[in-house]
Symmetry: C2
Subunit: 873 residues, 2 copies
């Protein structure tokens, strides 16, 4: 396409951002559709690139600029450099992608010793004219000639002191004239308006390659040859009397989404006066009384803008002597709840389609709608900031260990569990706490993962604080909090606040519910939840989960009344002894599953058999050793022998790398009686529930497979037990066997694995660990933080699925599994299943579904719909 | 191909094993080339399959059998079932693949109440005839009619008791006749010879589907429809007097390879008499005197057999009344050293080609030629057997900790280090020990890997023994050994022997050297060694390594005099402090590299920068805590503070999964000063050595890369330091930067990685860990053992490269790296680099080289040659 160097605002349009810069393109668009925009023109980004090479503005461009100035003169009836009716310009940069670090605006360009007189006459306000001149000299001097701001400020301060006044506005007319003189000495600003204009344009282009702009681009990986456009626009003044003014309006309320003009204005003022905050602006609807005509025009114009852009607009306007000018319009920033309301309302108004409404909501922003928050209306004292590990805010008294937390919670107290880090031993305490605060570990630490799963707020890795366990104190800078003190944590922001703070409960608005319903009608991915408890399962159903994609049974082994039996089972010396302990766990497990089946009412439940290594259920070696020391003193020989046995077994079960140790299906193979008990419990529960008339659909899932013969062996065992139970109960249960792919090798042999299962779930937490060789327990503080800071990794692969590595293995697995068994169901579970970018990826590689924390189900539903509609990432 | 049901021995040949069974095919082959084989015929495996379906011998086959019996009658002049000159048969099974669990041999078939008289007349030996008849009844009864052996044995014993004799041979003729009568009552053996023959043939076919045979096939994954052949062969008798006999000979000495007929014979005896051991056989050469004609024929015939089969033969023969018959020939089993000598000799004799010689040696058997062995000529008492973790035998006094081992070794004592397991802390003790014995850990445990690398014998995982560290005792069943006792271990077999045992030093024979030279001329893979010390490097060169493919620098950090500096470095509170400690390590590192460069004389050395997590260099938490307890008593406050600081740091550095933790290039990135010191030391050493006239070729290798930006960053650092040193020294060193691929993600991004390096080495130990999700420290005792026993895995993936998973990732990586940078050098290092099957795989996926322990270099050279020559796996 042959392009011109310069475009009049009438000549461009909104999709010419690459050529004209974004700001320029929008000014053109508004002009084109008849919005009252002060006339002007844009010099293209191509000229910027030309300038970058030569460091000069070519004569051709200069001539062209002057030609366009003439056009603006004709349009406005004013003349550039004219002593009676001078045309003044603002000059602004504007790149294709919004980019801080580039040139500020120069206003009032065209003023000189002669034109200032014309401006005084035009506006009938000599003070105003000299003030404008002084401002121009100051801006030009600073921005174009690179003279420090202080030089000008000093002069102003001296003048104020001399006159004994405090504000710039109080400086006398003579004082202003004096300042103009002084400024002209400080900055050698040319009197020739054309020269001013060329120099200003050159300064904009130079600013494109300023160090600040370049390092910004490097940091954000933006190309250097985008270039910036230059917008040259006629000045309009809101400070020419009480028939003038300036303001900012939103076409709808950006906090609530209410459909009502929202904003403020100042009479007889320029935009910078609003920013400066020296005068208090008035609500925009009061303009109706003051300048009814202009207000009417404003309402009309903003409505047109919203309709034209099909979205809420954030609009800057100026009224010059009763005439309305729009200086800028842009899509308004809004709160998450406003975004949802606006999108849904606009569909109902027929402005946008359902698809557009869905595409317009950033799924990552809606998470906070699902959690309790600190009220916006209070201020508070933050003593430390950790990582936002599980969203939502919570208030409670401090508890320093899980048993204590459980006990006090049982007694009706609200507690925040505070630990340097948590382990599976602490889960019973986490469950009963309002929130969790840890000093170590990242957003994928144990505390973070468990809390997110449970929907409990958590701040992790808050290393600014210390814990004195002995005296039960949380110690920060100049602050010590004990068990009786109250603490508030905000897991959405990572803030830690001493004392209680008013919290606001979340509500799913009717618009939000509507939006999600629409989303469901578009999405291809099934959205399920990870839920281990009845509480989770209910939440999951409430948030629209279509089933449970991952039910981890290990948490069932952790509860205080079962742990002793589990430990007995682990410490058994024979298979028989182990089976006796398991027999006591069986009814408990059956109860768990019965409840889940009842809640899910026929929705599919994927139950993963025991996964973690057995030593996770045993106490710490240190703890046992301490026990032994104290028992030794008491002299109880039997107790001593028992503890010593426990110590021996614990040491024996200890693993150097438990993540890669004896867990998952490896456990099931070596101790088939454990899985056997679980399968029996599942099938018995299923039969009982079905007998009482509730449908049941269940997948029995085998974790951590690396080799297909593991599955072949285990599948036979499961089928045998399942058949036996069904036969005994006289009920048929439509159960399936599934497996998790959590290891690179499992991805490579997905075809072989598919022979044995009907269901595969990618456990991308572990798959990420093995693919990268990153232990998530160790990586975060030790080196991942360094990696993010130094951009070795751009995103945390434990949060956003790594498409290059992990994702490629998944793609391979999907292809191979589908080739072997076209109908096989494949989903993702774990952290990534509720992360929007990862959900998109899952859609694109043809997964059947995602499963995530109940609290992320709405996010996943939305993201899945967006993926189906085809949003580019 | 249309096949017949039955083949005369003259009609088949050696490559018809699938149809005739292996034994049958060889009998045919010998007959075909004119070797004197007793006449006979083979019923095919196809008939076996037919039989398996119907359970019957078809009439067609029966008729055909009788037709072939007639042919044999014509050939021998004897008649089947004839009362005067009876033809007798042996009936044997013979499958295409040698398979225990099938039918034994039935001899003397054709005997009945009439023909026994004929046999007596033929042989002029009535006792012999009845003994043969009684044996036939016994075999037929037991094998065909399934009557227990005991029934017959009982009768024999009664008869012997009655006659007051001890041996079967002493039973009187009447006694024999009596036994025949009794046996006929026990077993209803048909008198009709044809019926006998059909039943025997049916029994062979039935035995193909016996439970024993089926489970053998299942276990060995052999197809069920291979079927077995049946060999029906004329009986010959070696026990017809002093002009008869039987024996076994090898065409060359199977222990030494010496070219001389080797074997033994018994006059007037059947084969079973040799097996029974009741008479002592004579050396075969004494036959020359006794039966010179038969001996001459034997020498001629065996020579022809060797020439025909082009390999040493193991031959069974019988002489019946002066006439030589060959009953069986097969390729002789031989010792590794004999195999090498025979292969090389045969090339020189023009019997086989160099390629054939190379292909004939199983690389896995030659390992023992490279290590010291227990003398074959002594007997000894084995108290326990562990895993054969590092080959070779060693004798020494027991030492229970590494410091002690080092001290005593320095004082000139020979010690065996005995530990329940070893850690990097023990390396200085391992290095100075004769051998290592551990109670825990498998063949890929720390002790095993380090010992193999160092060529020190090691027995690991010997869990039959216990250690009492307090009293310094090794405790086994009924035995206690202390520091002053001597122990012998055999790392080739896993045996543990109390006391000293004579050992035999290894020697590389001239034939072995010759074979390896030939191998080098065929192989495509470069064979390098993993060597960290001057001792290793010398060994590597001696064994023909073309360079060092992996020099691990961490061992250099472990030596007793450096560890305190390393610890100081780790405990540094600032970068400056750390740099000060590193500055003290620099000259030590420089010394290490200088020596290596000198030894390798321009051969390429790949130096891997520090890999393990830093906490591996710190003492155990338990140890520090104990120190703290004892210091507390002494009241030394400064020492206490220091220890407490150490404890804090150690706990801070502790990792949950160190294998996936802060190690490798992650360490280099977070603490660039460590790698900087190492690069400086390497380059300074290289410059110094080159200045003194020795060529230097070096690859600086970065471990554990997961993301290309890790390399991009580190490469810049290294180049900067390398340039600086070269400039200062005024020397140019042709160095390259390389990396290790040890993670699945690195395989997937091998193309991106290749942009930054000229050399890639697959660290398949770690790659196997991450691909499978198996921690090698934990997997072996906890579940891998179970996996092997239950055939979930057929081979240990830490020993034999897993082609399905790890191998596929490697293939992918090779393809991608080559696409990006065709000339890039790619090798494998680590355990698999010296394992023959894995070497083949490396050849086939187009690697450039392998690197392995110096002691495995000859194995790798041979395996690489075999891969190039194109041996099927």
């Amino acid at each position: 396409m042959v392009t011109k160097d310069i475009y009049l605002f009438e000549e461009g349009k909104k999709d010419m951002g690459m050529l004209l810069g974004n700001k320029g393109a929008q000014l053109c668009e508004m002009t084109r559709v008849g919005i009252p925009v002060p006339p002007g023109f844009v010099i293209t980004t191509k000229v910027c690139n030309e300038y970058a090479k030569t460091g000069k503005l070519p004569k051709r461009v200069k001539d062209n600029v002057l030609k366009h100035v003439k056009k603006i003169e004709r349009k406005t009836g004013k003349k550039f450099g004219d002593a009676r009716n001078p045309l003044l310009f603002s000059v602004r940069s504007g790149a294709p992608i919004s980019m801080p670090g580039m040139m500020d605006t120069i206003l009032n360009l065209g003023l000189n010793d002669k034109t200032v007189l014309g401006l005084a006459k035009q506006t009938n306000n000599e003070w105003f004219a000299y003030d404008s001149y002084r401002r121009f000299l100051q801006m030009f001097g600073n921005i174009v000639l690179d003279i420090s701001k202080e030089s000008f400020e000093d002069a102003i301060n001296k003048q104020k002191k001399k006159e004994g006044v405090h504000l710039d506005q109080e400086i006398s007319l003579d004082g202003m004239k004096e300042l103009v003189k002084k400024f002209k000495k400080i900055a050698d600003v040319p009197q020739d308006p054309s020269k001013q204009l060329f120099m200003a344009i050159g300064a904009v282009f130079s600013s494109w390659n300023s160090d600040r702009a370049k390092s910004y681009r490097e940091f954000n990986r933006l190309p250097n040859d985008l270039g910036t456009g230059v917008n040259v626009q006629t000045m309009v003044f809101g400070n020419l009397g009480n028939d003038s003014g300036t303001g900012v309006v939103f076409t709808r309320n950006p906090a609530t989404g209410e459909k009502k003009l929202y904003g403020e204005f100042l009479l007889n003022a320029q935009g910078e006066d609003i920013v400066a905050g020296t005068r208090t602006p008035k609500p925009v609807n009061t303009l109706k009384k003051v300048l009814p005509k202009a207000y009417k025009k404003l309402v009309q114009t903003t409505k047109r803008l919203e309709k034209h852009y099909k979205d809420v607009q954030d609009i800057e306007f100026t009224i010059e002597k009763g005439k309305l000018y729009i200086l800028q319009t842009r899509t308004a920033k809004r709160t998450a709840s406003a975004a949802v309301k606006i999108a849904v309302d606009m569909v109902k108004e027929g402005v946008i389609s359902k698809k557009m409404a869905i595409m317009r909501i950033d799924p990552s922003t809606i998470e906070k709608l699902l959690h309790r928050q600190i009220s916006d209306e209070v201020s508070y004292n933050v003593i430390a900031t950790g990582l936002p590990a599980s969203p939502g805010a919570a208030t409670g008294k401090l508890s320093f260990d899980a048993d204590d937390a459980e006990k006090r919670a049982d007694a009706g107290e609200k507690v925040i569990l505070v630990r340097s880090e948590t382990s599976p031993d602490d889960v019973h305490g986490i469950v009963r706490s309002q929130g969790v605060l840890t000093l170590r570990g990242g957003v994928t630490s144990h505390a973070a993962v468990v809390s997110r799963g449970l929907g409990i707020p958590c701040v992790s890795g808050c290393n600014e604080l210390d814990i004195d366990y002995k005296n039960k104190l949380l110690i920060g800078k100049g602050i010590k909090l004990g068990e009786e003190d109250t603490l508030t944590i905000d897991g959405t922001t990572g803030r830690v606040i001493p004392g209680g703070v008013p919290l606001v409960d979340p509500k799913i608005s009717k618009e939000f519910a509507q939006l999600l319903k629409w989303a469901d009608s578009f999405k291809k991915l099934k959205v399920m939840a990870n839920a281990d408890t009845p509480k989770d399962a209910k939440k999951a159903v409430e948030f629209g989960a279509e089933g449970i994609g991952l039910c981890r049974t290990e948490h069932m082994f952790m509860s205080q009344n079962r742990l002793p039996i589990v430990q007995e089972m682990i410490l058994s010396k024979s298979k028989e002894e182990r089976e006796r302990a398991l027999a006591r766990l069986l009814p408990e497990q059956r109860k768990d599953f019965t409840e889940l089946f009842k809640i899910m009412k026929g929705r599919k439940i994927t139950i993963r058999l025991l996964d973690p290594p057995l030593h996770e259920f045993l106490p710490d070696v240190d703890e046992i050793q301490e026990d032994i020391r104290s028992i030794k003193k008491s002299g109880n020989k039997k107790a001593l022998a028992e503890k010593e046995e426990l110590l021996k077994k614990t040491i024996h079960l200890h693993e150097v790398n438990p993540m890669l140790g004896h867990r998952g299906i490896r456990l099931g193979l070596v101790y088939p009686e454990i899985y056997n008990m679980q399968v029996r419990a599942i099938m018995e529960a299923a039969c009982n529930v079905k007998k009482r008339g509730t449908r049941v659909s269940v997948v029995i899932e085998l974790p951590l497979v690396a080799e297909e013969r593991e599955l072949a062996t285990m599948k036979d065992e499961i089928d045998k037990t399942a058949m036996e139970v069904q036969k005994k109960k006289g009920v048929k249960i439509p159960y399936h066997i599934g497996t998790m792919i959590e290891l690179p090798r499992a991805c490579l042999i997905a075809d072989k694995i598919s022979k044995y299962v009907d269901f595969i779930s990618f456990g991308t937490n572990d798959l990420t660990q093995t693919t990268f060789g990153f232990s998530r327990d160790d990586a975060e503080d030790k080196f991942l933080h360094y990696y993010f800071t130094n951009k070795i990794l751009e995103e945390d692969p434990f949060v956003v699925l790594d498409e290059v590595g992990v994702g490629e293995l998944m793609k391979m697995a999907v292809k191979r599994a589908h080739a072997q068994k076209p109908g096989i169901e494949m989903i993702i579970c774990g952290e990534h299943g509720g992360e929007p970018k990862s959900v998109h990826f899952c859609h694109h590689i043809n997964l059947d579904g995602v499963s995530c924390s109940p609290y992320r189900v709405p996010i996943a539903r939305l993201a899945a719909a967006q993926a189906a509609i085809g949003r580019k990432k």
